[in-house]
């Protein structure tokens, strides 16, 4: 109970921190939303009126308290540029980001674990080297370059996958799902590429470490089959640090997908942030950061749960 309370308190703290940091950062930006919509015919009086409309004429502290107060009511405010609530803007984007990041995460884990195991069990052999180099290389790729390359190769040249977007206009029902997956492949692939390396390398190191532990020797001494030794005895332990990394990444991935979503014209939150910076749309920006912080908090909770399932030392004490 106390544990849960602490986690929650920590989550709230994280949220508050993100809100505060971004609130002030955003307001430190040069110019104001009104200059962003500047048009040649605007007069100074008009400008002031607009500022007042946005509530930007009040002192910063008052704006901040207002914002926190609204936030407590779950109100993220209205977008400056699009006259709709920020929640609407974000909620339209969030599902896509979740689809993208979660699928990338799942694929990464599904591929990363066996590759890590392969590298660790063949440590210092050529298989290990190949996996390591590939992993590191993939991790070091620059997203936009990869994106354009993949789209050119698989989209324009081979015509296997569509260019940009998230789902076809005409697709309905099952076809819509298929179309969604079809559009998901390329952006997901880029995200997987850049994440996979980290996973495999961590898996490899922790598994090599686990394979040197006494409990692995004991399992061997019990006559357990080599495969079982790796997959049952060593892997369960090696998964613990990997889980932490996965949790950390899941949280930051949402924000980290900015480049990917922009290049692939994928309608996610990351792109909304990028656009909102350009438009100085403070409420959307802040809302997005609150959302991302919430994602991090949620990811941490998930990690804790996963940790509990994997590690009885946590579960039973």
């Amino acid at each position: 109970m106390r544990f849960i309370g602490l986690r929650l308190a920590r989550g709230l703290l994280t949220l508050w921190f993100a809100v505060t940091v971004t609130f002030f950062l955003v307001r430190l930006l040069p110019g104001d939303p009104v200059t962003a919509v500047a048009d040649p015919n605007m007069t100074e009086a008009l400008r002031q009126k607009l500022l007042a409309d946005f509530g930007l004429d009040k002192p910063l502290a008052a704006q901040y308290l207002d914002y926190l107060g609204q936030l407590l009511h779950g109100n993220l405010g209205m977008s400056f540029r699009q006259s709709i609530p920020v929640t609407t803007v974000l909620m339209e984007r969030l599902p896509w980001t979740l689809i993208l990041t979660v699928s990338a995460m799942v694929v990464t884990i599904v591929l990363g674990i066996p590759l890590g195991v392969l590298a660790a069990t063949r440590a210092r052999g050529w298989v290990d080297r190949v996996i390591q180099i590939t992993g590191v290389t993939a991790q070091s790729l620059f997203v936009p370059s990869v994106g354009i390359f993949l789209m050119y190769l698989l989209g324009v040249w081979l015509r296997w996958f569509p260019i940009g977007g998230a789902v076809d206009l005409d697709a309905t029902g099952f076809a819509a799902t298929l179309s969604m997956l079809h559009h998901l492949v390329l952006p997901c692939l880029s995200l997987v590429l850049i994440q996979l390396g980290g996973y495999v390398l961590t898996m490899r190191t922790t598994l090599i470490e686990a394979l040197g532990e006494d409990y692995v020797s004991l399992a061997k001494a019990k006559g357990v089959r080599p495969g079982t030794v790796v997959w049952k005895h060593a892997l369960r332990n090696a998964l613990l640090p990997t889980t932490t990394i996965a949790g950390l990444q899941l949280g930051t991935l949402v924000g980290g997908a900015v480049l990917t979503e922009t290049i692939y014209a994928y309608p996610g939150v990351g792109r909304a942030i990028y656009e909102a910076v350009g438009q100085l749309d403070f409420p959307v920006l802040q809302g997005a950061f609150v959302l991302l912080a919430a994602a991090v908090v949620a990811a941490n909770l998930i990690t804790d749960v996963a940790y509990g399932i994997l590690d009885p030392r946590v579960r039973t004490s």
């Binding site: 106390r2 544990f3 602490l6 004490s317």
Partner: protein, 340 residues
């Protein structure tokens, strides 16, 4: 029997611990209660004397040692050096720090692997500015190394280039650098190979004889403690079960736990194999929730209902002290057992 120091008992002790308590609470997230590592220990150490402490793993020996050198601040009670309390305002006074030193269990981890032997031994000299210049410092380090039986020309090497016994000598040299009055040794030989152990034990005995420092010698090996100590304390779960002159504690133990300990210790004499031994049941209880009353009653074959309720105090039993409701009877019973 080690040479007995001069009639010490009457003189003012160099180090006195009274009513020491120390608990550790777990991290912020841990549930259970605090570990009560030391729960009420009183000790006196006289100049030139060796006080041995034995006890099983986790009974609080190291915690006691750390409090005796001022590394840890007791929750309750205090440690005084020649009558001056350790924790004045703002930490341990520098001169007391200088006078009370420590030798650690693991010779390797207690020496910084990135420092040369010279730097390690010179560290106290630097901290207390005991050497006017670098040359004097080298000379002093050389002297100290010679004193512990190491050749001074190896002082520019790193600890890992030495064997276990030699490393422990480096640690001892460091402890001697400030010319302390008291050295607390926390299991100084447990990590050593059996063929080297004796070298270090001998060194301690000799240093004490020549320099007259008072030693607190902690170990779990009964024989080693017996070998170096004038007086011996037996600890169980954070408390002293028995305390007294070595000969008496070993020869006529008053506390059942001391008896069990002595009897369980393996004897390197195959011929004595068949002897009757006291086999304790179960494991030592957790220090988080020590049993009420006498802490030993859960495993004691002599326990009576009273033991579960009333905590025995350390009181004189003949020439030494024991904390047991049945101490005297135990002492006589032991004689009977020995006769069997």
């Amino acid at each position: 029997m080690p040479p007995s120091p001069d009639p010490v008992q009457k003189r003012e002790p160099v180090l006195r611990a009274s009513g020491l308590h120390k608990s550790y609470r777990g991290g912020m997230l841990s549930r259970g209660g605090a570990v009560r590592a030391v729960a009420g220990v009183d000790l006196e150490l006289h100049a030139g004397e060796t006080l041995g402490i034995v006890g099983e793993s986790g009974c609080g020996k190291s915690t006691l040692a750390r409090m005796l050198v001022g590394l840890e601040r007791p929750d309750q009670g205090e440690v005084t050096f020649r009558g001056r309390p350790f924790f004045a305002r703002g930490g341990v006074p520098r001169d007391i720090r200088r006078r009370v030193q420590m030798v650690f269990q693991d010779p390797l981890t207690s020496l910084n692997p990135r420092m040369t032997v010279h730097d390690i031994v010179a560290e106290p000299l630097r901290v207390h500015r005991l050497s006017p210049d670098a040359r004097a410092m080298r000379e002093r380090v050389g002297e100290l190394l010679t004193l512990v039986g190491l050749s001074p020309d190896r002082m520019n090497r790193f600890p890992h280039e030495f064997s276990g016994g030699q490393r422990q000598r480096i640690g001892i040299a460091r402890a001697l650098a400030t010319e302390p009055d008291v050295i607390v040794c926390d299991e100084p030989v447990s990590a050593l190979d059996m063929s080297v152990q004796a070298q270090v034990v001998n060194l301690f005995a000799e240093l004490q004889r020549t320099l007259g420092v008072a030693l607190v010698f902690i170990a779990h090996d009964l024989a080693v403690v017996r070998h170096v100590s004038h007086r011996v304390g037996v600890m169980y779960l954070g408390r002293l079960a028995e305390l007294g002159p070595a000969g008496q504690v070993y020869g006529a133990p008053a506390h059942p736990y001391t008896m069990a300990l002595l009897s369980a210790a393996p004897v390197p004499k195959p011929r004595l194999r068949g002897r009757s031994r006291i086999m304790l049941a179960g494991d030592p209880p957790s220090p988080v929730a020590p049993p009420p009353g006498c802490r030993f009653h859960t495993r004691c074959w002599k326990a009576a209902p009273r033991c579960a309720e009333e905590e025995p105090v350390l009181e004189a039993v003949g020439a030494h002290y024991a904390a047991c409701h049945f101490a005297e009877r135990a002492a006589s019973a032991e004689k009977g057992a020995a006769a069997l």
